[in-house]
Symmetry: C2
Subunit: 445 residues, 2 copies
């Protein structure tokens, strides 16, 4: 039994619900759109992640007696609102970018439709999940891209909130990482877990040789030995003495990783351990990974910079009301007027325009009358448009393909395909604008 996520919610969502139930507007049909106004400085694309986790949480989003009693005791909302919450379940619909897709400024990555009452309650949950997971995936994609064919291993749990760490491991795998050190992420999402020993294991023993012997004896010669507790050269000698030339790997966690890796590779090869791999860890980010491209490194372990989004620890996604039913029963687009926080009213669909080589050339936002946008699909004359919205929730029913371990595997495949579609040069790490422009296609009424 998971605890209910229903109170992972900002108080104003419930007070708005109360006021809207009182004046009858709570039952107006609404369309909320999730998008980001800009990418982090220098970033060329973002990666949608967390969709599966969001849908898993949505399935559990119920106000049970524990939640209702607390809300009543605190006087957060009135009795009519409590009665509404007691029966709450989301019966609306959501479409959005499939998890793993890349996105750009203004991309409508999620569109939620339902009554005001049922959609307004989801703002915080939707944004918490998508903002964090997408921030991690967006950083992870740059790292796995910089690593080219070498595996990236997620090891950042200790530098993130303990539950965020599980989500970070999942998002990293969506965006190209091979495995994680986090056991709970392995259990929940079927991810491959990795890890052998820390410096503490060496220091626990009276000397390094004893520690390596104990590790090899228990975990086998194909384990990874951490060789930099004292002196790397002596560490490698002792590692080979303990495991022989069948040693799986050595790990370097400090110092000049590129220079050390070259020395260690030479030492291993000279000893005949040509199959022994070199894993490097120690405050790596996408730039450090790229800089190690010419070093004889076999895998990268990444921690802090991954789980904190490599300088962009959250996406700036917002959940905005873009259309709602009026007193006349008609849907109409709405937007606030602020100059510094622009929104474009009205429901939008989205597609990626591809060139003859199947490379993205533009992010196309499809706007117009609500019903036309809602049913829009690229037509025969739109051969170069790939539609981006997929159904996630249909009248309250969550499509099971997006959740669980299967959802993560599919998202990882989708991310590779989506990233491969980016224009040549879009994966360079140098700071630049969004890889493709965002343009608008206006459907007529």
């Amino acid at each position: 039994m998971r605890p209910s996520p229903a109170l992972l919610t900002d108080r104003y969502e419930l007070t708005m619900l109360q006021a809207a139930l009182a004046d009858g507007t709570a039952h107006r049909r609404c369309v909320f759109e999730v998008f980001t106004r800009r990418l982090p400085p220098g970033r060329r694309y973002g990666v949608v992640a967390g969709t599966g986790r969001l849908l898993e949480a949505l399935a559990d989003f119920r106000f049970g007696s524990a939640e209702l009693d607390w809300l009543a005791d605190e006087g957060v909302v009135d009795d009519r609102t409590l009665a509404y919450l007691a029966d709450y379940r989301f019966t609306g619909s959501m479409v959005g970018y499939a998890e793993g897709e890349v996105f750009f400024p203004s991309s409508p990555v999620l569109v939620a439709e339902g009554t005001f009452a049922e959609t307004v309650l989801l703002e915080t949950l939707v944004l918490s999940v998508l903002n964090y997971d997408s921030a991690v995936a967006s950083a992870a994609s740059r790292m796995s891209s910089a690593a080219v064919d070498r595996p990236c291993l997620e090891m950042g749990s200790r530098r993130a909130h303990e539950e965020a760490a599980v989500a970070a491991a999942r998002a990293a795998v969506v965006a190209g990482f091979s495995a994680t050190s986090n056991l709970e992420a392995g259990r929940r999402y079927g991810l491959t877990t990795i890890g052998t020993a820390a410096h503490a294991f060496t220091l626990l023993h009276d000397d390094e040789q004893e520690a390596f012997a104990a590790q090899v004896s228990s975990l086998g010669a194909d384990t990874t030995l951490l060789v930099d507790t004292y002196d790397v050269r002596r560490g490698v000698e002792r590692a080979l003495a303990a495991a022989g030339t069948g040693l799986g790997a050595v790990r370097l966690d400090s110092g000049d990783l590129g220079g050390l890796a070259a020395d260690v590779r030479h030492q291993l090869d000279a000893a005949g351990a040509t199959g022994t791999k070199i894993v490097v860890t120690s405050d790596l980010d996408e730039f450090a990974i790229a800089a190690l491209a010419v070093a004889p490194v076999d895998a990268y372990g990444v921690g802090t910079s991954l789980v904190t989004g490599s300088g962009a620890p959250t996406c700036g996604m917002v959940y905005k009301l873009v259309a709602r039913e009026g007193a006349d029963g008609e849907m109409r687009g709405v937007a606030k007027a602020s100059r510094d926080k622009t929104s474009v009213g009205g429901r939008k669909s989205a597609a990626r325009r591809l060139d003859a080589d199947a490379r993205a050339v533009a992010e196309v936002l499809v706007g117009g009358p609500d019903e036309r946008v809602r049913s829009w699909r690229p037509g025969p004359d739109d051969g170069t448009l790939r539609a981006l919205h997929v159904p996630l929730v249909t009248e309250g029913t969550i499509d099971p393909q997006w959740v669980g371990a299967d959802g993560v595997r599919a998202a990882a495949r989708r991310h590779r395909a989506s990233r491969d579609e980016l224009p040549r040069g879009a994966r360079r790490l140098s700071a630049d604008e969004a890889a493709v422009p965002t343009v608008t296609l206006a459907l007529q009424g």
Copy 2:
């Protein structure tokens, strides 16, 4: 029933345990120390937070059949290790800085003692909790300090992982915030929750006047009306028309907040609404708060920059083995040799040296033989030393004073006292070194 946190753990902790159980070193007594090598660039102090959450999680840290079955199915560890885990509970001891205390580079904020087996398993959980919560509290303290007597309100849930958001709200309150928008944080930790309406509520209605009337009718005239959906001046007029001069507050969420606040204050006062407060929100951080000191603002709502640590989204705390029993049964200090990641071996206690005005002048690390350090207390000749270590867990028993809502309230009081003890000038926001130097006091054997 909370899910077990036992797998919120890096795999290598379990593989080290397996190897250490096999060679008998698992039962050596060990001392692990949590500290950070440096503060984020420009920061003058950090704030310990998360201690209460950590102890709550420690109480639940058990390997149940679900966890054991998964570990067995995945072949993570052998049967002997599974048997050990099945009976696992932490029977060791922890001392540390009380939650809310400020800290500096090398401050031993937590010291865990027990067998290698029982202490090594806690590394990831300890660091995940302390690194995230302390990062948020360290940022929050600068914000609440910059706000002086004006309340700071935590509103960042949407920009953090959904469970991290709860921890962030708690950490913010530890470090001087008054309230949070997050309902779950209110429920778990007895925090005051706040919030009334978003732009969506105004946009839901056919016009702003209707929206304000509905809100006032449902939530009362002392509610906070968000007045910047269309035009602020017209918004304030409508707010007063709806609520009268008894209106609780108006909120500004965009534009030039300082200029707008002055205009709105003038408009409110001219209308006789001299008691109506002005709340500002919109990407505030400690610098923006400081810049608004001369504006007629009554409260600050802070989101993104708070929950992401205002540029430092994690503390760099590490969990290092600093002493362990040898084959001879004696405790000895240990440390790895790396030049870029220095550690100082041996158990350490800590105290803050105060001057005659009770202002901190140094962070004193107390080192020496294990037993002397362990029992060290400032003596009569150490009148200016305030000891910083308090017992958190004694032979497996968690001291209840640190957990739950009481723990948060006490931590918030303690933080105010600890911050007030900083040298004059240490609370300036300009980039500088740690506010006091860290020095060492060596006890003789």
